[in-house]
Amino acid sequence: MERRIGVYVCHCGSNIAGTVDVEKVTEFAKGLDSVVVARNYKYVCSDPGQNLIKEDIKQLGLNRVVVASCSPLMHEPTFRRACLDAGLNPYLFEMANIREHCSWVHEDSAMATEKAKALVSAAVRRVYYHEPLETKEVPFNSNVLVVGGGIAGIQAALEIADSQHQVYLVERDPSIGGHMAMFDKTFPTLDCAACILTPKMTTVGQHPYIRLMSYSEVEDVSGYIGNFKVKIKRKARYVDEAKCTGCGRCEELCPINVLSEFEHGIGKRKAIYKPFAQAVPNKVVIDPQNCSHLKGLKGGKDVCRLCQKGMEKKGIPGCEAGAIDFGQEDKTVEVEVGSIIVATGFQQFDPSVMYPYGYGRYDNVITGLQFERMSNASGPTRGEVLLADGRKPESIAILHCVGSRDENYHRYCSRVCCMYSLKYSHLLREKVPQASVYQLYIDMRCPGSGYEEFYERLQEEGVNFVRGRAGEVTNIAEKPEEEGKLMVVCEDTLVRRKRRIPVDMVILSCALEPRADAERVARIFSLGRKADGFFMEKHPKLDPVATMTDGVFIVGCCQGPKDIPDTVAQASAAAARALAMISTGKVEIEAAIAVVNEELCSGCKTCVPLCPYSAISFDEEKKVSRINEALCKGCGTCVAACPSGAITGRHFTTEQIVAEIEGLLV
């Protein structure tokens, strides 16, 4: 059949036309083989731009279309749809990226124009060999996996479960609640974090449409949008969840005291424990690293078991529910879901690497989360602000931007620290009113509903705001009045002089950073990561909760530092996206996949183990490989590996690729 190709060169305002001479590129395209029409237009993606293409398909009988504009990640679906609307198979379209790959990265106009011509020529040659392809639809599984039980995961899980779709909520720790459960108050309204969070936690625990898997981790995800298979490791709790009533007697009996992760090292827990009073599920867990019985078992010794047996001599019984099960082992469960919401959160920057601030060297230098626990009425000091020796502090300094806005650690602003530092100041003025409170800031960043007003309120509450980043915290006294104090050394940039502020306690407002295992989690869910290490959204502005893997969403601080309102909004957004997919009930699968020519297949099985999606099986009867159309992602691994050349990658045939290369080189 005669090829009739139309070429459309986009100006993209001045994004392309500012560097590339679009007229010259258009004239060049007109001269290419089989090109019937070539035009340029200010915004080809706009309605009038798309109409140009549609009209030409109808009027000029075009059977191939090339648009030279931005990245196909941006507008390939737009133009494919335009082709389809005009009755042309969408796979007879090809895109030349002359923006990201050309105008945006070059300054020399003449050379950029030559490069744009080459890219257009490549696309024209390639599209010549395009074949019409048909996409298929498969059913969409309405179950949803939510990974992470902080406020983000809780919100997303509830939104979906409330619309009566099954949710699997997987949480790594023994309880859901995440960081928010550790906080004392929340800014700027000063609601108690637990008061607004725990009702949601309880609802999650009791919801008929939520299967909560705490103390569990996702190990593997296979499949594709609409039809994922997920392997979840349920870590041995050594406690039968069905039997444990959460009464806490075992905790009283356990003789082992260790530092509590939940209390960030300023409080203790037992080896059998519930991380905090309102834990959901309300079940204990045994920490095998510290339990003397479990440690003893490794050496073949049967010791302790006080939690199980109680203290017979004193007449104190052990677990009456018979829930303790030292023989429990990790087990793996498999679930099938259609979409996945990743809400794995953040970790607090460890300030001990910043030697000058003295964290880890001076007892009274603490992190923000440690202060949250200290200030929390259910924390280890019952809400009293105390120094390590039990005294009340007479002066406290709060240091902003610890690990944030610092080229040595994280360049980004963690967004919430100014606000939580203000909250700390307020709590300090309330709890230790006689103490002086200093905030050392670079500049105050308080955008948000009621945030600036909160800052003004704190100025009136008598907090000392010092504009200057602290250089160091030292206990080396230079004057008698400095003895026994911690001196915060800084340049006060408003009065333009160096200051030494003697205080009793220093609170480090630490950065929010990606969790240490973000790389592993990213691999499991096929997520990209940004330069700052957080998970990458599909589009930073227009698609902030979707990812490059269809059907996988990211919400909350795993995508970047954010406050609770933004986290909740994002979680609800992702839930809405998942529900929208569920409501269509089906999902279109990519047509550009690999196919086996059974005539040529020699049955060598080279391809079978290579497929990263396990899409290839072997037909023992016919002795040929078979590719599952629903599982194949069209990656091309098998195509390249097949020694007989029996596998073709649709839409990426040898002919098409060679033509594209020739087009570039001519």
Binding site: M354, Y355, P356, N408, T474, I476, E478
Partner: protein, 289 residues
């Protein structure tokens, strides 16, 4: 054998003579050949740069051009030379216009610089190229029990030329430990010694020195060790003035790290220039010499 173009700088031949001789003395057992750059001149130092930066860069570039001809890394034991040469080198690589101007000036002396030299501090070479494992194998008299405060000063690590943490460096600590000595905590290890302010702002500089000495002594140090000739001179030569001004009695010696290495390697004190130090080190080192 590792070969380097060696740039001693003026201090290592005058106020910090102990640095120059000890650097050469330890090079031998470590199989390093420090080939002195022929006809080297002043690095330009910080003072010149604050008056006329481009002129100062020409002065530094003359040495860089000479070093480029050797094809070797340019190594200096002096922190000040290291900073001045590194800074000039960086500017020249980043600014083609400046490079052209500077080459115009160098042409008078039939020299040209192309920007290929790597400027390195001797401490970095010892830690990274030679390595602490090799250094520890050359130790003949382990400095067991000697309590040392390693003092980095500012110019070795700031601005950051990729050698060590600019705020809390540690490589000198590891180097001292590889000799068998004990490193005492020294929080002020990269604070200012007063530098050349001793000339214009004596009170201020003496107070900075006092803080350093107090911190080292307070943490139990028996000696301070530094690679920098300016730091060493300040803490050593002005000791009397510190003691009389603040009515203190600090008598701990300030050694060059290369001198301490030499002692551990069993090299004779005379070949390490120990006599050029003003606060005597004999008592502290008595067990090891």
């Amino acid at each position: 054998m590792k070969y380097y173009a060696y740039y001693p700088g003026c201090s290592a031949e005058a106020t910090g003579a102990g640095l120059g001789v000890s650097a050469l003395a330890i090079a031998k057992p470590l199989d390093m050949e420090l080939i002195e750059l022929e006809d080297w001149t002043c690095c330009g130092t910080t003072a010149y740069g604050s008056l006329d930066e481009s002129e100062a860069i020409v002065v530094a570039a003359r040495n860089l051009a000479l070093a480029e001809k050797t094809g070797l890394h340019l190594v200096t034991p002096c922190s000040n030379c290291f900073l001045t040469l590194s800074k000039a080198n960086e500017r020249l690589k980043e600014q083609p216009k400046l490079m052209a101007q500077v080459n115009e000036a160098l042409a008078v002396a039939n020299l040209e610089y192309h920007g290929s030299v790597r400027v390195r501090h001797l401490t970095e070479v010892l830690v990274k190229d030679i390595g602490l494992e090799v250094i520890s194998t050359k130790v003949k008299r382990p400095l067991n029990g000697l309590k040392v405060a390693p003092y980095y000063g500012c110019q070795l690590v700031r601005p950051d030329y990729g050698f060590d943490d600019p705020e809390f460096p540690h490589s000198l600590d590891r180097l001292v430990e590889s000799l068998g000595a004990t490193v005492v905590p020294f929080p002020l290890k990269s604070h200012c010694c007063g530098g050349s302010l001793i000339i214009s702002e004596e009170d201020l500089a003496l107070d900075l020195m006092r803080k350093l000495l107090a911190n080292a002594v307070g943490n139990g140090a028996e000696c301070i060790v530094t690679p920098c000739p300016l730091c060493q001179t300040n803490l050593d030569a002005y000791r009397g003035r510190v003691n009389s001004k603040f009515k203190t009695n600090y008598d701990l010696p300030v050694l060059f790290v290369t001198q301490l290495m030499g002692v551990a390697f069993g090299i004779d004190g005379k070949d390490l220039g120990l006599k050029t130090n003003i606060v005597p080190a004999g008592k502290v080192l008595a067990n090891y010499i």
